[in-house]
Symmetry: C2
């Protein structure tokens, strides 16, 4: 298997963390779609993903895009260690937390959205926009961690799940945009618990090194 | 089981279509969160979903939010008729198409996003915004229908899946915003094939009657 990804976006980071937690061997093809020359360096990518977004997983003749679809696929290919709880209600809770970030949170903060906002509506409005949606999303996520007895050391119980795989890149993005996260106490504790795991730390560290390099 | 939903939003419509296709009996609790008096009429809802978005499924002591998490839960509770293909790669393709709409498409067009855009950036900008993201999303979806041999009468093969459950409400929203969809020929054909099914037609018809009533 191989994955097309970059070192600084939210969705590729989710897949890299999932790959690390599941101890899979996957070849990484790093691609920066913000550079004009990506078509020269990686001409096949245009047909690999007509949406031209990262990440994309290639497994034999199958190409799979959208980070959560990729992670569900990896979960089916190699069920253990699992990123979803064993019970249907637990799986639903984890998926709903992941989707809160992957649907209502992160897509609003995407680079292509910030660029469009800047070009069409407000050249300097992206900061206000990101702060608003990031804070709302973290506040909502926090509310579920506070409400639900199922929350534990991690977003769901005491082992990391798909929810944490989505939360950690979102918290890192908040840090990158200088948005304080300490008010989200449970989410911060979950983030810290994740970062104590070598799988999260190694991937996040590698991404930080490359994106700052 | 019961579902909190409204009659005019995209995500509740996905769940209603899924419920119809899976021939489930679910009590519907209609709730209009745009009306100031919803807390009086339905005081329990604030704790049912701290995100205060629709839909929410309640099954015994479990409350599940986020439409795709609800549909995956229903899929696990009653696997047939299935909204996901039998093979992992097929399931991944269907989930990725669904997520293209549920993550990168619809959340940008949400009422709360349009309201924030209007209040903070441009009082009359929502129309331009919706047109831009709707057209981009449908163009990208169309590209996968054109590229993939797995596309058939419906988005994936010849029976309706989770992808169609997401596509149809998105196409209906395009119509509501007077955004032409005929350029997306494959998507339009899939939409029309879905609307020939009584499960789609009944739910969409009921939603249209109530929301215009």
């Amino acid at each position: 298997m191989k994955i097309y990804l970059n070192d600084f976006s939210n969705a590729p980071l989710r897949v890299r963390i999932a790959v690390a937690l599941k101890k899979l061997e996957v070849e990484e093809i790093h691609l920066d779609l913000e550079r004009d020359d990506w078509r020269r360096d990686c001409p096949e990518f245009a047909s690999v993903n007509p949406q031209q977004m990262l990440p994309v997983l290639v497994d034999g003749r199958h190409t799979i895009h959208q980070s959560l679809a990729i992670i569900e696929y990896l979960e089916e290919k190699k069920p253990f260690p699992s990123l979803l709880p064993p019970d249907p209600a637990g799986r639903a809770r984890v998926r709903s937390l992941a989707l809160m970030i992957a649907c209502d949170g992160q897509p609003l903060l995407n680079l292509r959205v910030r660029k469009y906002l800047a070009s069409q509506f407000s050249p300097h409005g992206a900061e206000t926009w990101v702060k608003h949606w990031m804070e709302l999303g973290l506040r909502e996520y926090e509310a579920f961690l506070v409400r639900d007895a199922a929350a534990g050391r991690y977003s769901h119980g005491d082992s990391p799940t798909l929810a944490d795989v989505c939360l950690v890149p979102q918290m890192l993005m908040a840090q990158r945009f200088n948005i304080p996260t300490t008010a989200y106490r449970r989410a911060t504790r979950v983030f810290e618990a994740c970062m104590e795991l070598p799988e999260f730390a190694a991937v996040v560290g590698a991404a930080a090194v490359v994106s700052s390099g």
